[in-house]
């Protein structure tokens, strides 16, 4: 009888773990969701709405729902604004692509501007000199002037 009782107790303890092989992490989920009333992530909010959602998460995890299933259920109940980061597909993809596009466009603009500027500087040589250097006459005069200080 004692052995049976021990086995039954072991089953009771082991059953939820066996049913939930890899339970979703409440802590991680709280960073992926925002509090609808205060708009901070759930892990930083103590508002009543955040507390309600936290309790709901706990129930969902106890029912062995996966992280993705929980997130899908939350989006179905609250809409996509409940997610702390935009999704990487559909309309939300714009939020990821637009800043990268902006950086690329900025870099292209800078490169284009730099090229145009460097071309402007390498324009026709100034009169009386080749490529900005001194003429032989000027060089002679500079040497003469410098010789006075020696």
């Amino acid at each position: 009888m004692r052995l049976l009782a021990v086995l039954a107790a072991a089953l009771v303890v082991a059953a939820p773990a066996a049913a939930c092989a890899k339970p979703a992490s409440q802590g991680h989920l709280e960073t992926l969701l925002v509090c609808p009333s205060c708009h901070t992530t759930l892990d930083e909010s103590t508002s009543p709405a955040a507390n309600e959602i936290r309790a709901e998460l706990k129930r969902m995890i106890a029912r062995c729902m996966t992280e993705q299933q929980i997130l899908d259920a939350m989006v179905a109940e609250w809409g996509r604004t409940i997610l702390s980061t935009p999704q990487t597909h559909g309309f939300d993809l714009i939020a990821w692509v637009l800043p990268l596009g902006g950086i690329a466009a900025g870099a292209a603009g800078l490169a284009f501007g730099a090229r145009a500027w460097s071309r402007g500087r390498g324009g026709p040589p100034e009169p009386g000199g080749g490529g900005g250097g001194l003429s032989p006459e000027d060089e002679r005069r500079v040497d003469e002037a410098l010789a006075r200080f020696e």
């Binding site: 609808p36 009333s37 709405a49 507390n51 309600e52 709901e56 109940e77 809409g79 501007g113």
Partner: protein, 179 residues
Amino acid sequence: MRILRVLSAAGVVALLALLVWQVAHRHGPGVAQKVDKGRIVAAPKLDLPRLDLAGRLDLASLRGSVVVVNFWQSSCLPCKQEARTLAATARAWKDRGVVFVGVDALDTKSAARAYLKRYGVDYPNVRDAVATQYPNWGVTGVPETFFVDRHGRVVPPHIAGPATRQDLEDGIKRARESA
């Protein structure tokens, strides 16, 4: 270089246009602030999914009845204080052309439904998940109660805080008398 200048100018113009649009479309004072000054104003559009049943409820579909619109949340203590009074008043006026509508916001469905059951609320309730209606109605906290006349206009008084039976009776009478 010219193309860069044109693009820069276009960007600045676009940002300015966006600013002007944002300022022009910013929410003005909500219904609550106008009603508190004694004005009668058209009720904002309110078409939301039902909390107590399947489907949606559109406030416009209740035109011809006096409607008491109550904003609440299950975790709000003053809402709990008035819940049974609202339910009792709704039952008392049910057959006299007065409809109560609850608007629950920033709440989980399970908590909200448990609240309705616990306080015996059997009038229609809708769910505004992320409180999109708050700016239109000028709701700044819960509970708040509004009275809509038969023509779909919000009439004074507007009750901010828990409503008593007398508050509700007075509001209903004024809405019924509104021509």
